[in-house]
Symmetry: D2
């Protein structure tokens, strides 16, 4: 599991006084940098090998400006060419949002999904967690 | 069904040369203004009566800068206090993304879900569409 | 002068209940699409010929969610290879923000500024306005 | 001077392959959290005492995804009720952008500017830097 701490910005809030829902997919994308490095160690977009198939976010509690957010990121499913990333945003000891992203290893030249390379698969396996357990 | 046209901004793109995935939840929120007006006709945030329970987005095809986007918005489920909004982003005659948002009618003072008011329910029913049919 | 109307989204607001300041540079970039088309008619980013040298925004009055914004865009200075775009965001008949952007016609291969092409210069001249007059 | 490191997200990029200009005002706002705490130690938006009068950003060099950004923040002017924050975004040992923000200490009830409180003024003075020197 990867964890990182981020600090909300004022622009992350909305007129209801809390973090706007559209910021969660953005925060989760930022936190996936740790996973992206397994595919593209220097993060050069010209060597990008992933596309996004879907995302979902479940909102569990309000998140606020003024307190750090911990993003927890792990692999919850590892397929042949695609995998699912599960992420949570915690604040003050409780989860405020949980999301899943399905990413596909993609050959941009051939324009089709490609099997996960063996070394990347091995690296991803180290972050494979049973989600029910992780969320406990 | 509500439809509206929006024009991508340069900042909606990312280094892969297409629209970044995090913009879809934002575009869909903008398009929900039409639904928000059914609850709060003047859109005054101090009278807000909705919270978001979850969102998902399925990415069907790349979307690009330089061509208009049509956002289609309808109600696909109408519960007692919550409902599901289904939305699609079309460009050049094909859908690039489809998403669902679960919204809950919420009493911010009592801090709990509240039944949909009868007049709002009636207005929402006019936009209730069988999603399988809409996406056909 | 170019004018276009945009509708604020809920995510454009912040916890002070008004439009967040960081959204103005974004709205102004969206409205510059009209100018970008003079350089790159199909807006294909691979043919892009402009870079940004600076931007400023002066905040004149609060802007709010729930009412349309009119963006006014004109050229206030036309140099050899660079020019200044002045833009205003109006709501309910008064200006809420005014900004300037300095754009440079740029040769991405040679990595240096390039004189404005004659046909583009002519098109820009049609939108050249004395700013003091425009803001009156 | 305050310094903090931030990591670009993929959504910070645009189709030109670098960081989009609209992200700089956002990054600078995030880094002003350090200053905001001098006014509102718990960052509670309901106790907010600042409004923004203007911002500018000068773009000095491209910034890229994949390498950390260091944001440097200091006070370059300290007036009676307003002050100017100067900020720079550095990457790989060179400045990519420099910006100024004019903030006004504001009495939201009386709806007018208010003198800086003595203790805040003292705290701000500790971060007052001659900008020509800082940029050397």
């Amino acid at each position: 599991m990867f964890t990182r701490t981020l600090e909300p910005a004022f622009y992350d809030t909305d007129a209801l006084g809390h973090i706007n829902n559209t910021r969660l997919p953005a925060w989760f994308e930022l936190a996936r940098n740790d996973l992206f490095r397994l595919f593209t160690p220097d993060l050069d977009p010209r060597k990008w090998a992933l596309i996004m198939a879907r995302l979902d976010v479940e909102f569990l509690a309000e998140l606020f400006y003024g307190e750090d957010i911990e993003i927890r990121t792990w692999i919850s499913r590892l397929g042949n060419s695609s995998f699912t990333v599960t992420q949570e945003a915690w604040q003050n000891g409780r989860p405020g949002a949980r999301g899943n992203t399905v990413l596909v290893h993609y050959d941009h030249e051939a324009k089709r999904a490609a099997p996960l390379p063996a070394n990347v698969r091995q690296a991803l396996e180290a972050h494979l967690v049973d989600t029910a357990e992780a969320g406990a």
